[in-house]
Symmetry: C2
Subunit: 319 residues, 2 copies
């Protein structure tokens, strides 16, 4: 987590002047989002997040994200609205980067959600899926199933993370290729709905944030990602059935998954675990040990993968 | 700039419950202060900065900083007030660290101040010095003149930063030791009043912040530090006479420096330049090149040092 780009106060004032949001009162770099520079911007007209997009978010993708958040906000989902300037533009340039001014939402990110909070998160995910079922936007999921072999190959020496990891990943990739389903309902999904990316107050979801991995994929795969990230102990070894059932109840109250989707959940969750195992392993191998960026240990996602591989894994998704 | 310590939401709620400031609405890590973890904390009662003190700020020093800010706030200076809990305590424990809840102040830090803003900063520095003239608190300046030789020795291979730097530093240390004044007015000073540490709205100072280098030293040395950090081009090669005169006018409108202090300013500014040259060189040598922390180039302070060494340096302090 880091602010990479410094914003000059004069440039900031000129940017803010494009909008009907008053003048700058305060602007502080915040440690939110790993790949962008984020500022908490206060003006005489309210509070906003100013995001400067660094290299990982492609400028070409920005119109997709703006349209997606506009759509979700209009549909009444708890997402931060993109603010448009007087001429209707949401994407600006500042400090040599593309930038957006985004609605500030109250709420805090949880680290250890309760079952009640898992139910609320599941409900918010389901409500978002309902709003996206007929949505015409589309984006290739560059972190999706078809890309995992390439991500694994580019991650570096997996055995340097954990002896034997390369062989276990290869076996899993083969199995997933042989069994990955086709024909499940697909639309744009969040694809990264970890507790980090859900703002809550008590048991109320105040915002789903950080849509920069959003892409077209199975909606049930989004459920699997959320299950994997909300329902396990920190070490990934234990799935908390109370949290898992609450999450599924919350989601199924909004979206009626088909029998085929329900049956696919353990497999999709194996895929989700592998996806985060691989990207964390990549970052683990490529982040200098002395860097002040937190390297996230990949092994809890290997533990999840093993748990989802067990014969009784279907029970983890019982509502 | 980095947030080092994660605060658990439950621990945060328990901390906030000690105060009469309502309940948590939002809490975001902010990239302010290099050595502490800072959060912008919003509660139903207002907005605050929550600071967790990492290793560089010694727990033993915290009561000094709290008393200093309490004193300055009572004196009407534009500083963030320390918030005291229902039992009167300002220093708490959270996430294994000492922590304080501090008043949030509006304003933004400038990068390229105008003369009018320099005048305002000089005035705020002078008003603070008036409030501190009779203040009983005291703290050794671990970054002060008596420590520079040790700091230079511990910085590492200065010639690796710039060929010939070691010899130039040694010569300067000898000269400063031979000429450093005695008997100038002393009290607690800010000792780090860079533009980073002054919040402004337009030409109004809304807050002097980051007092963690505050210590007992010559008040004129504080003026010299502020002069060196507000009045030069980014590369340190050019002193802007308009900004410098404005800064001095602003300050002298609050504090009447003696002739001896005025005469000492170029020498004190050489010392100030050396102090930041040495600490930046230390960080430059000791920060891994791959780290995401911004290494501040030491050479602009070598340029300042050379400028203050010139025969006509006294003119740089003309109001």
């Amino acid at each position: 987590m880091a602010v990479y780009t410094h914003v000059d106060p004069d440039e900031l004032a000129a940017l803010v002047a494009r909008y009907d949001i008053g003048t700058v009162v305060s602007c502080k770099g915040i440690a939110e989002g790993v790949e962008n520079s984020n500022y908490l911007l206060e003006t005489t007209g309210g509070r906003f997040i100013l995001t400067l997009y660094e290299k990982r978010v492609k400028a070409d993708d920005l119109p997709f994200f703006v349209a997606l958040l506009d759509h979700l906000a209009r549909a009444g989902c708890a997402v931060p609205a993109m603010i448009h300037d007087r001429e209707g533009a949401a994407i600006q340039r500042i400090a040599g980067r593309s930038a957006c001014v985004i609605q500030f939402l109250p709420g805090i990110s949880l680290t250890h959600p309760t079952p009640g909070q898992c139910a609320a998160a599941g409900g918010a995910l389901g409500a978002m899926h309902r709003a996206l079922a007929g949505y015409s936007g589309a984006r290739d999921n560059s972190m999706g199933h078809h890309h995992w072999r390439a991500i694994a190959a580019g991650a570096g020496d997996l055995d340097s993370v954990l002896p034997g990891l390369q062989a276990e990943v290869d076996t899993e990739l083969d199995w997933l290729d042989a069994h990955w389903p086709a024909g499940l309902p697909r639309h744009v999904i969040h694809a990264d709905l970890f507790p980090d990316n859900v703002l809550m107050l008590g048991e109320t979801v105040t915002g789903l944030i950080d849509f920069y991995f959003a892409a077209t994929d199975f909606r049930a795969y989004d459920v699997a990602i959320t299950h994997a990230s909300w329902c396990f102990s920190d070490d990934g070894k234990r799935c908390d059935q109370g949290r898992a059932s609450a999450l599924m109840r919350g989601y199924l109250g909004e979206v009626a998954l088909s029998d085929a989707e329900i049956a696919a959940l353990p497999l999709l969750a194996r895929g989700a675990s592998l996806r985060f195992l691989l990207t964390r392993a990549h970052d683990w191998i490529h982040t200098p040990a002395g860097a002040l960026v937190t390297r996230k240990d990949p092994s809890p996602f290997l533990e999840r993968l093993r748990r989802y591989r067990a014969d009784d894994a279907a029970a983890l998704f019982a509502a």
